[in-house]
């Protein structure tokens, strides 16, 4: 049985003898009070009082698809900045620094991470660890680089077969590409 109603911060929702303060609630002077503006759920089975925010923050969870910009690439890993979670409008709360280990870059064997992605690339990645640090993977057809610029002239690279090509410099390039390279709309 779950009882629900709308609450605002500071509103008394229950006594501590009845319910355990959980997400979105806190305890003061033997009372459970709402900490968030949203919907209160009193779980009579678990005996918990939870408030689900009307406008929740964006926190990372395992398996989330995220968009990142690559900020640095070493031989064994790429460091990137998480810009947003796919499907969520609100900015990410908390740490935004993620790393992709060379073994998690592609389904195939990768000798050198610097061949797969380069600084300033925009990638789609999947979250595989949130705490203590954000770890990402780009192994999978839908994951990898979605936008890359030519390293010489900084014009967008176009996809040609499995690789990339700069029409301006007439030079081929390579990345670990996502299946919708250059076709992602933000």
């Amino acid at each position: 049985m779950k009882e629900t109603r709308k609450v605002v911060p500071g509103e008394e929702v229950a006594e501590v003898e009845e319910y355990i303060p959980a997400e979105g609630t806190y305890e003061e002077d033997g009372k459970v009070l709402a900490a968030l503006y949203g919907e209160l759920e009193l779980d009579t089975e678990e005996k918990t009082a939870v408030v689900r925010a009307k406008n929740p923050m964006t926190n990372l969870h395992l398996g989330d698809l995220v968009f990142c910009t690559v900020s640095d690439v070493r031989a064994s890993m790429a460091i990137c900045e998480v810009i947003s979670v796919e499907g969520k409008k609100r900015e990410l709360t908390g740490d935004t620094n993620g790393t992709i280990h060379v073994s998690k870059m592609s389904a195939e064997y990768v000798q050198d991470a610097t061949r797969e992605m380069r600084p300033s690339d925009i990638i789609r990645a999947k979250v595989i660890q949130v705490r203590p640090s954000i770890q990402l993977t780009t192994a999978g057809p839908h994951l990898g680089v979605i936008k890359a610029l030519c390293r010489k002239c900084r014009r967008p690279l176009v996809r040609v077969d499995k690789g990339l090509y700069c029409n301006n410099c007439e030079r081929p390039d390579y990345r670990k590409l996502s299946d919708d390279y250059a076709a992602v709309e933000f």
Partner: protein, 256 residues
Amino acid sequence: MGGNSNIKLIDDNGIRIDGRKVDELRPIKIEAGVLKNADGSAYVEIGKNKVLAAVYGPRECHPRHMQNPAKAIVQVKYNMISFSVDDRKRPGPDRRSVEISKIISEAMEYVVFTENYPRTSIDVFIEVLQANAGTRCAGLTAASVALADAGIPMKDLVPAIAVGKVNDQVVLDLNKEEDNYGQADVPMAMIPRTGEVVLLQMDGHLTYDEFKYAISLGKKACAEVYEIQKDALRRRYVVESEAEQEQPVSVPDQEA
């Protein structure tokens, strides 16, 4: 605070120049969630004051050296728009707005559960569109509704109001004339449920008894403002559920 003056701001019947009694608030209007791009927002009108507050975060704190590894910091930017006062106000931060930003940020840090979001910053932007005395109170009132609207966990909402002394009488919620030609101005913010004071300043002089009476007036007024704040948040739910109902129930089949 112009000091003592001969201007009569309260008549013999105890009615002030804007028609209020000495313990009467100006009309207050609060609306939550008025801005689309901010994480949370609120618009507050207290008499002729018009204040807009927007909240972003908790987000990664820049510059990095301001991060606190144990908790989030609340950064407030209070700003008066150039057309908010009679003479054009020179835009940009000044001594007054830096002070107000600091005290509002300290008041907000007390109520927000900052320890849940280490190394982040919660950014609050308060823009005064029209000023008529008591903008810091209006700003804090708006900021706390905006924080709640942003889904940031906090102990309670913070209502704020000013009390003061005009023509040797303690009055509630000073307007501009009373602020300019009165004898004291005491902006205060109090959580009505616990009676905790999170903001208190005094400009001018009050005797101990006057001060005690002023605080009791302010306490009652804070409780009133608090109800209006709660109502603003609750109303937001009603508006959205009505909007949902207005949407067409069945989508016409486009393939057919």
